[in-house]
């Protein structure tokens, strides 16, 4: 259900109408609109927003780890409509080991951002054309941006010297 403030927000209202149960939570804070979307329909919602509401640009995809909360991950999408000059934030909440649908089919630019989320958080994206590590070395173990990954890593310790 949409809160009162967002009932005339064009994008939020249209998504609510098209996908009645897709919006799990919605809020408007500090002038920014956030919609929490059901992970099962994220790719459909994105393509609907792109085609019918003019969100032709994907600014970024990233992730926030809320460990030890369950579900721990929030995948965050920032969309921009060039024509109406608006920014929209979508979120998907997933637990560990859950796959998320890739949005590379909607915006090709999501490719590297999803690879980065995979690399640093270990979230796998379904239907991604090339899901490999991007920033860390290919043989790296673990996902360094997770909150339970120590800041100095596992491998190196000063005691070994």
């Amino acid at each position: 259900m949409l809160p009162e403030v967002l009932s005339d927000h064009p994008a939020a209202a249209a998504v609510e109408q098209q996908f009645p149960s897709a919006i799990l939570e919605a809020k408007s804070a500090l002038g920014e609109v956030t919609l929490v979307i059901d992970p099962a329909v994220i790719a459909d919602v994105c393509s609907f927003l792109k085609i019918h509401l003019g969100f032709d640009r994907l600014s970024s995809v990233t992730c926030v780890d809320w460990w030890p909360q369950v579900p721990r991950f929030e995948v965050v999408y920032h969309l921009q409509s060039i024509k109406s000059n608006t920014l929209l934030r979508l979120k998907v909440r997933v637990g560990e080991g859950v796959e998320v649908d890739s949005v590379t089919g909607v915006w090709r630019g999501a490719n590297w951002y999803e690879r980065e989320v995979f690399d640093l958080y270990g979230i796998t994206f379904r239907n991604h054309p090339n899901l490999e590590r991007i920033l860390m070395p290919a043989d790296w173990e673990g996902h360094p941006m997770r909150k339970d990954f120590p800041i100095h890593g596992y491998r190196y310790s000063y005691r070994d010297e």
């Binding site: 804070a29 500090l30 920014e32 956030t34 032709d56 640009r57 994907l58 600014s59 970024s60 990233t62 926030v64 780890d65 965050v76 920032h78 060039i82 000059n85 920014l87 934030r89 915006w107 090709r108 630019g109 999501a110 490719n111 590297w112 951002y113 590590r133 991007i134 920033l135 860390m136 070395p137 360094p144 941006m145 909150k147 800041i151």
Partner: protein, 421 residues
């Protein structure tokens, strides 16, 4: 045994034949039918990549069939490091993200945290920020222009550009004591009071800078070699650029007027008079023209800032966030307490999230700061322009000549620290 071996070889050969490409009828360089594909490893230390970028090129004669960038050599885990530091301690890290546009990064981070804290920045600090960020833009574009021209064989432009860049770095040193990693824009205002005589130094530089831009243009714009190397090179259709996530001067060179300073004005940019230069051809030459015109616009913004600099304080009235004056600490107990608390335990930021977009010299720079109510950010994500722009590398290089790849790479103006973070 023997026959097995022979069949084995035949199979290998057959596989090999399959892998051999059908010769593409490319208009620039039709490769002879006998040419085999060659894999060329460009980088990570190739001088024209301006950092450590590795590109795996597959060539057929002189034509690039596929270009796969390999990034991450400069990944330093800045975002991870931010999560373990107090809000003020993150500012010096933001300098190191894009080392040619450090003040833009400072500004973006400061604006994001100020939005979470809901504190008001005095006009003097806002205008001073605009002036410094525009000088940063000049600095970044000068380094780009010098090295880009050097890559394409025009050595003199390099010396001209770095001559002026030196003056900008001297101005930064005058303000902050540092030439590159200034950390001058802090949460709640500026790091130090603007130095005495700053307006004279800036006016002196900016007074002659327009004629300096004319000098660069005399060297390059109508130079036949420069035009041959850049016109019609590296063209990618506008919708494709938008689809792969390109921002900034590359989009403006392809005909889209998009600029965060105009679209979502921050730090009182709406009080300045400037234009967003746009070209339509979308080639390397158009990107060069866009950036040169941007330098002229930035010069005008700096001039307006110096002329109309408001009076007032240079930091916000928020004692729990902004470090107190040194003099007050010697006489006032409260200032000493605040200073101690800010330095030892930082300040708490109300829970929430902000996606702050600014226009860096390279394009859309955004900081996504998530606060959980403690004194350390829960997450700082940097949407850096170079990362988005570099995704267009494959579409820009594939099917083109290898000699043009240097021009195309240079025109993207990426900073590898900005890509890898």
């Amino acid at each position: 045994m023997k026959t097995e071996n022979i069949t084995h070889f035949e199979e290998l050969d057959a596989e090999h034949e399959l892998q051999m490409p059908a010769v593409l009828g490319h208009e620039h360089a039709p490769a002879p039918a006998s040419t085999r594909r060659m894999t060329l490893n460009m980088g990570p230390q190739h001088p024209s990549t301006h950092g450590v970028l590795r590109i795996m090129l597959e060539l057929e004669g002189e034509t690039i069939i596929s270009a796969r960038p390999d990034i991450g050599f400069l990944h330093t885990g800045i975002e991870k490091e931010c999560e373990g530091k107090h809000y003020h301690q993150v500012t010096p890290l933001t300098d190191r993200v894009d080392y040619l546009a450090n003040l833009s990064n400072n500004l973006c981070y400061a604006l994001a945290v100020e939005k979470l804290l809901q504190i008001e920045i005095p006009p003097l600090a806002q205008w001073m920020r605009v002036m410094l960020v525009e000088l940063t833009r000049l600095n970044s574009h000068l380094v780009w222009l010098g090295t880009h021209a050097l890559d394409l064989g025009g050595m003199s432009a390099y010396f001209y550009c770095f001559r002026e860049r030196e003056e900008i770095l001297k101005i930064f040193e005058m303000f902050s004591g540092q030439r590159m990693m200034t950390s001058y824009i802090r949460i709640g205002g500026l790091a130090l009071e603007p130095p005495r005589g700053w307006d004279k130094a800036v006016s002196k530089f900016i007074g002659t800078f327009d004629s300096k831009i004319d000098e660069y243009e005399t060297l390059l714009t109508a130079n036949p070699i420069w035009m041959q190397r850049t016109k019609g090179v590296g063209v990618v259709p506008l919708d494709e650029l938008i689809a792969v996530g390109v921002t900034g001067p590359m989009l403006r060179a392809a005909g889209l007027t998009i600029d965060a300073r105009k679209d979502t004005p921050y730090s009182s940019y709406d009080k300045f008079n400037f234009e967003v230069p746009t070209y339509t051809t979308g080639d390397v030459f158009a990107r060069f023209k866009v950036r040169v015109d941007e330098m002229r616009q930035s010069t005008s913004i700096v001039r307006q800032a110096v002329a109309g600099m408001p009076e007032g304080d240079w930091k916000a009235d928020a004692p729990h966030v902004v470090l107190p004056d040194r003099e007050k600490m010697k006489t006032q107990m409260e200032s000493l307490i605040y200073h101690f608390k800010i330095v030892t335990e930082g300040f708490r930021v109300p829970p929430g999230e902000v996606y702050q977009v600014v226009e860096s010299p390279r394009g859309e720079l955004a900081y996504y700061v998530v606060s959980d109510g403690t004194a350390k950010p829960h997450r700082v994500f940097m949407r850096t322009p170079s990362f988005g722009n570099l995704q267009s590398l494959s579409v820009m290089l594939e099917g083109r000549l290898i000699a043009d790849s240097i021009a195309s790479l240079g025109s993207m103006d990426f900073v590898l620290g900005d890509v890898d973070r």
